[in-house]
């Protein structure tokens, strides 16, 4: 301690030397305020509030007039307002997903022009497969995610439609454009048959039943001579791809047709999942069906409707499949196909269309494009699946949500398990205190005590010991002022046993008529000694608080 305090009163008595005392360095009370205000809990900048970029200019009304035909839905959900500070108009895009979708689909649309030539065949073929699988997975997602029916018969519907239309095309000369249409009729019929047990069974039992159905289809197709048991599949159907075209053009056409199919499926997903049916079903989540039913939601009918609609669509895709590949093969019904498809849904995230598309993209890319990797592909897919399932609740597209939920949980746990946020009061106690001034007073008091604790040093105590009364250094003066300001109950005082000879320390009771109580046995010979002992007692209390 280098700081010394010179008693200013010494100036009045020039005969004596200037009184000097070693004391603390100056410590600003502001430092404590800053320390309290500094946020100590680890927080994350991202998303404490959802961040919206604000664009200048008006536009809300303009944008709200534009609708997606034939829906009443706005093209972009834009809200406009006046900025209260700058007094300028600004607008916010509330939901940016349409933009991402458009960008992603645009990227898919132009990507064939940027494929290096030595990859073209493989990537375009895989691209068409991707489109078809993504469409199938979107419809499956409607069944599993929206309707909550654990059906594994998706590929049975697709396969039945594919086989049916291929058969009709080969034997009756069905043109290619009629195949998806006939396919959707076959799909609907199949859907009705499969939907009947769905009203009765639930969960894994239904899954097993549909698995059985798929197996039945596979066995039937393998054995049936009409359905090409002799050729390992039924081939030779009419195709929308003109056979005379050069290979590159054929592949391009196939790719864009697959992409168009996927976009159709996306629209279907949007119209079923985002509209009335989807909302009805979201009101009746798993295990809450009874409650939903009690509120008048006919979730059974809604489920069956969704199931039938997606069966229709799957039939359409089946028809498309057979005109694309010019036939159908039994591996449509195989366990592996289903397993791979399931991994696509899981990796992307169950219940969302973007999950189905991204999952399909990833798995089709690994499985179909990296064919020269051999067995590593499946190890990669398996590892990806395992990691996603172990760590992610909603697939890759659930990461953001899950991270936010985790962060909020941790934050709130920390906040609620910390005793001292805001000072002396617990949040629950604070809410029950009618006089809010008390809360603020306690908070201030705590802060002040924390600051004073830092001022207590041996020098300060030594200063007080030397001269308990009179002018003191700034630090000691602050401490003493705080002590003197304390309320009367349990406040320490000095009682004179015998003047100039014997003093003791007592504590005031705080209520009128009740005598102070003794706090210790010790007696002190001089008032200064007693003053200092009392000071020490208070310091001790301060440090303990």
């Amino acid at each position: 301690m280098t700081a010394t305090w010179k008693n200013p009163i010494s100036a009045f008595d020039p005969e004596k030397p200037v009184e000097e005392v070693v004391t603390n360095d100056y410590l600003s009370p502001q430092s404590q305020w800053d320390a309290v205000r500094a946020y100590n809990v680890p927080t994350y900048e991202v998303g404490r509030l959802r961040y919206y970029h604000k664009w200048g200019g008006h536009g809300a009304r303009l944008w709200s007039r534009l609708r997606y035909w034939p829906t009443r839905r706005r093209v972009l959900d834009i809200s406009g307002e006046y900025n209260a500070k700058t007094l300028r108009r600004q607008k916010t895009i509330e939901d940016k997903r349409p933009i991402w979708w458009v960008l992603a689909l645009l990227a898919l649309a132009i990507v064939p022009f940027f494929i290096p030539e030595n990859q073209q065949n493989a990537l375009l073929t895989a691209g068409a497969v991707f489109g078809i699988y993504a469409a199938i997975n979107l419809c499956w997602m409607l069944i599993i995610g929206t309707a909550g029916i654990y059906s594994l018969a998706t590929y049975a519907v697709v396969g039945a439609a594919a086989y049916g239309t291929a058969y009709l095309s080969i034997h009756l000369g069905l043109p290619w454009w009629a195949m998806p249409l006939i396919g959707s009729i076959i799909g609907l019929v199949f859907g009705v048959i499969i939907a009947i047990p769905a009203t009765r069974l639930e969960g894994f039992y239904y899954a097993l039943l549909t698995l059985g159905l798929v197996e039945l289809c596979r066995v039937y197709v393998l054995q049936s001579r009409e359905f090409g048991s002799a050729t390992g599949g039924l081939f030779g159907a009419d195709s929308y791809i003109p056979q005379a075209w050069p290979q590159h053009d054929q592949l391009m056409l196939g790719y864009y047709a697959g992409l168009a199919l996927m976009i159709l499926a996306l629209f279907l997903f949007r119209f079923v999942n985002g509209k009335r049916l989807g909302r009805v079903l979201r009101m009746a989540p798993e295990k809450r069906e009874a409650f939903a039913e009690a509120t008048g939601v006919n979730y059974r009918a809604a489920r069956i409707q969704v199931f039938l609609i997606s069966s229709l669509a799957l039939g359409f895709i089946g028809g498309f499949y057979s005109t694309h590949f010019r036939g159908a093969a039994p591996n449509l019904f195989s366990f592996d196909t289903m397993l791979l498809s399931l991994s696509m849904l899981v990796i992307g995230g169950l219940g969302r269309s973007e999950g189905a598309v991204l999952g399909t993209l990833i798995v089709v890319f690994i499985d179909r494009v990296l064919v020269d990797w051999g067995p590593m592909r499946f190890v990669l897919i398996g590892t990806l699946m395992l990691l996603v399932v172990l760590f992610l609740r909603g697939g890759l597209f659930g990461i953001k949500e899950q991270f936010r939920a985790w962060r909020d949980k941790k934050k709130s746990e920390n906040r609620s398990s910390r005793a001292e946020k805001g000072g002396e009061m617990l949040p629950e106690e604070a809410t029950e205190t009618p006089n809010k001034d008390i809360i603020y007073f306690r908070r201030f008091d705590k802060m002040q005590r924390d600051f004073l604790k830092k001022l207590i040093t041996p020098e300060l105590i030594e200063e007080h010991r030397k001269r308990p009364l009179g002018q003191h250094s700034e630090a000691l003066e602050r401490v003493l002022t705080y002590f003197r300001r304390q309320p009367l109950n349990d406040k320490y005082a000095i009682t004179v046993i015998e003047p100039f000879k014997s003093y003791r320390i007592v504590a005031l009771s705080g209520s009128r008529g009740v005598a102070p109580r003794l706090v210790e046995d010790k007696t002190y010979g001089t008032p200064d000694e007693a003053y200092h002992a009392l000071f020490m007692r208070r310091v001790q209390d301060l440090l303990e608080s």
Partner: protein, 293 residues
């Protein structure tokens, strides 16, 4: 029709199916996990037994012990990978199923890569003799498999009924929350249930090695069969699984005699669909004494 033959055949098949289904059923009943990696454990333990037969000794007991131990190790692996990290997380049933699927996907490819595609055979455990029972010729390994699976099934049933661990497993299947209150640790029970069912899979793999040879994908068919039987019996009911195994065995024996072998799969799945349509919760739905809690 040769009735003795049909009956003998039905018994054989029922025993095989029961042995396959019981591990799956116990796993589901106690841990709530549909173990799709069962086929992988089956194949893995087959390879374990094969390695033992190649490098240690072709003695039946050693081969069997190696199979059981490898199976138990496989069960522990699946438990550590697919059960412990997520058993108390939301959506466990679906996630657990997919995690085990992933384990089996990777595991099967690893087996294919390490051991090659060619099937291996284990030494005959029960010798090569044969006997004729009621005019039906039975080979020693078939009789051995039947006898050991009957012994095994009754031992497991008895153990589940009367022992303390069995009680723990049954308690955990009914109410995991209450189970933890009476002092059953879910993770510890998980480990030993998976080791046990893995061991059962290993035993089944060794016993059935004369039917399903040891190969990287040899576990898939047994798993699908076992799963069908376990589900058909009612998930979680060991007794139901045994009955379902018997029913499916009779069905298969009858079908192959009356209609012909190519219709076995069709009648089998038709029967399962029929049973599930009548009893939506499997055969155990009939046996279930308690009401829904």
């Amino acid at each position: 029709m040769n009735w003795g033959f049909v009956i003998a055949n039905a018994i054989t098949l029922a025993c095989i199916y029961g042995t396959l289904a019981i591990g799956l059923s116990i796993t589901w009943s106690s841990l709530g996990l549909i173990n799709m990696a069962y086929g992988f454990i089956f194949a893995l333990s087959g390879y374990g037994a094969w390695l033992a037969a190649q490098h240690v000794s072709a003695n039946g007991f050693i081969v069997m012990a190696a199979g059981i131990l490898t199976g138990a190790a496989g069960g522990l692996l699946v438990c550590a990978l697919a059960f412990i990290p997520i058993h108390d997380k939301p959506n466990f049933t679906v996630r657990g199923m997919i995690a085990t699927l992933a384990v089996s996907l990777v595991g099967n490819q690893a087996l294919l890569w390490y051991f090659g595609p060619r099937a291996k055979s284990l030494p005959q455990l029960f010798g090569a003799s044969q006997t004729s029972i009621f005019g039906v010729v039975m080979t020693a390994d078939k009789i051995g498999a039947v006898v050991s699976s009957v012994v095994l099934l009754s031992a497991v049933l008895l153990w589940m009924r009367s022992s303390r661990r069995g009680l723990e497993i049954r308690a955990m299947m009914m109410n995991p929350h209450a189970a933890s209150i009476v002092g059953i640790g879910v993770r510890r029970t998980g480990f030993y249930v998976m080791a046990l069912t893995g061991g059962l899979a290993g035993l089944a793999s060794v016993l059935l090695s004369q039917t399903y040879y040891v190969g990287p994908f040899s576990g898939i068919t047994p798993m699908v069969k076992g799963l069908s039987v376990a589900l058909c019996g009612g998930l979680g009911s060991v007794f139901g699984a045994v009955i379902a195994a018997a029913l499916l065995g009779i069905n298969e024996a009858m079908t192959s005699v009356v209609f012909g072998g190519q219709y076995v799969l069709i009648t089998q799945f038709a029967l399962i669909i029929l049973i599930l349509l009548i009893r939506p919760r499997g055969i155990a739905g009939i046996l279930d004494k308690a009401r829904e809690a």
